[in-house]
Amino acid sequence: MLVVENLRKSFGGVSAMNGVSLNFEEGSLTAVIGPNGAGKTTFFNLVTGAFRPDSGRILLAGDDIAGLSPPEVVRRGVGRAFQIASVFPSLTVREAILGAVNAHRNWYARLVRRFPLRQAEPDADEVMELVKLDSRANTLSGNLSHGDQKLLDIALALALQPRVLLLDEPTAGMGTEERWQMIDTVHQLWQRKKMTLIFIEHDMDIVFKYAQSIRVLSYGTVLAEGQPDEVRRNPKVIEAYLGARYEGQPA
């Protein structure tokens, strides 16, 4: 579904992405891990058009999307949620999601009808139910708890019916229990929507429990990739990132 080939990007001479080639199968659930500064978020930024790669190809279902602007990439079916929840503080949850549905259907510049458009409502309600925010529908986004803002951020991306969904640390800044709830919600919506889901995660318990496969980045290169078991035993990964803790633990 998503293939990147020999992706390179440097910022002022510092190489952030140094010839990365990765392949994400259609409908897969993949974790991207690696130490801080490994290039995980840069990778997301390159795929979604926030940065233009210096060289390399980004193929979405066979089409090269490298160099397109974020709105153009979104239109081709790549949704994204951010490490720090990115929402619209003065809109209610429902208004924001309806706005995202309008954006997806290209109704966002309509002037004739009043907001909310009736045709947008079923989609918005479905998305709210998927992320379990229906009880917060009329709460201002800015007044939501941190965890709910993260959910809303994901909901906004889901409203775009993405083929590929990129989640940058969905559990960042949460307590243990909240983390498991969050990843559970993410896992459920992946199962229901059958999309290609790629998430960045630092909690290895979560990664090894949920990810079908793992990509390890380090200093802008691919250190390892494969099934959780292979990655866990890979000596390079242990040395660079995991440390001794996960070595030889049973699956």
């Binding site: 979604t48 926030a50 602007s69 974020p70 709105p71 979104v74 239109r75 994204r80 951010f82 990115s86 929402v87 619209f88 503080p89 003065s90 809109l91 209610t92 429902r94 208004e95 924001a96 309806l98 706005g99 995202a100 309008n102 954006a103 997806h104 290209n106 109704w107 966002y108 510049a109 309509r110 002037l111 004739v112 009808r113 009043r114 907001f115 909310p116 458009l117 009329n138 906004l156 991306a157 409203a159 775009l160």
Partner: protein, 330 residues
């Protein structure tokens, strides 16, 4: 969320217009009708600026560009081209839109402060042109000799009563159209862009295009405000394009409230009243105005109408809580 109904708003607009037209029966003096006519120009102008500032998060310091442009376009088209009044307004709309498209295309991609200052620079450019191009614009004297106001469709704008009705209709129609815009899907897109342009872009919204669109709409209504004023004073002056006119619109928004659609209207009423009252009492109008603005900036950020709305919401919330407590009080 209650679905806003166009039909209900049309009824409200028609009723408001009816009241406005009936008011001179209660206040027959010329000073009242002059007040409403000046108000129509400023309220349209300030509300159009608030489309940018309040709804799209585009803080323009140079919105007076369109006020001045509208005033001169209309006045020159009446005086030099000898067009009819509808053609004069049509030219105003077309030229305002065209200039807004060019200025907007240059400005809306810029970051906040650069946007603000570049819009101001364009306004001062127009002001300089007006001052320098004396043969056409009359330079710093403004246009002399008055505007011809040929009758059209039985409307004679040299008759004060007809002018009053015309300005009231223009005011209500303009505010209704802008109200409709902010209630449309596009209006909510603007709010999204104001809150978080980056997120909006990652939802597939072409941010700069939406900003350009609202900039053009605001420019058109800014121009209409200027045209009404030139119709009222039967001339056009370089002051209409000076930066202070943008400042006045900003004060009106500040006074009435940035976060409420009718804030600028309330602000325009307040500022014009202040102007009339204070100048009667003292020569130090600017000083009084400065103190009032300072008070608002420090203590009443929401503005008059904004404050009322938030108080009313609080009461309603309290009532809801009370009702819920009573319902669940077993």
């Amino acid at each position: 969320m209650q679905r806003a109904s166009v039909r209900r708003d049309l009824v409200v607009a028609a009723a408001t217009l009816g009241i406005l037209l009936a008011l001179p029966l209660m206040f027959p003096g010329k000073s009242f009708s002059d007040f409403v006519i000046r108000l129509s120009a400023f309220a349209i102008f300030a509300t159009s600026l608030n489309l940018l500032v309040g709804y799209a998060g585009l803080v323009s310091f140079g919105h007076g560009l369109f006020y001045g442009l509208g005033a001169y376009t209309f006045a020159l088209s009446m005086q030099k081209l000898g067009t009819s009044i509808p053609v004069g307004f049509a030219l105003t709309v077309v030229l305002s839109a065209a200039v807004a498209a060019v200025v907007g295309a240059i400005c809306v991609r810029l970051k906040e402060i650069y946007f603000s200052f570049l819009t101001l620079a364009f306004q001062m450019l127009l002001h300089s042109i007006i001052i320098a191009w004396t043969p056409v614009t009359g330079g710093d004297q403004g246009l002399t000799g008055g505007l011809p106001r040929p009758p059209f469709l039985g409307i004679r704008l040299d008759d004060p009563q007809h002018l009053y009705v015309f300005c009231c209709v223009t005011l209500v129609v303009s505010l209704f159209l802008m109200w409709h815009l902010v209630q449309s899907p596009f209006g909510y897109t603007l709010r999204m862009i104001r809150d978080n342009p980056r997120r909006a872009a990652f939802l597939g919204i072409k941010v700069w295009r939406a900003r350009l669109m609202v900039f053009i709409v605001a420019g058109i209504f800014g121009g209409i405000g200027g045209a009404l004023m030139s119709l009222f004073v039967s001339s056009a002056y370089p002051d209409f394009a000076y930066w202070t006119i943008s400042g006045e619109a900003v004060f009106m928004i500040l006074l009435g409230g940035i976060s409420v659609f009718f804030g600028p209207l309330v602000g325009a009423i307040t500022l014009l009243l202040l102007n009339d009252v204070v100048t009667r009492v003292t020569d130090h109008y600017s000083l009084v105005l400065g103190i009032i603005i300072l008070m608002f900036a420090l203590g009443m950020r929401k503005g008059l109408l904004g404050l009322l709305v938030s108080l009313w919401k609080k009461r309603k919330d309290a009532a809801t809580v009370k009702a819920a407590a009573a319902a669940g009080g077993d």
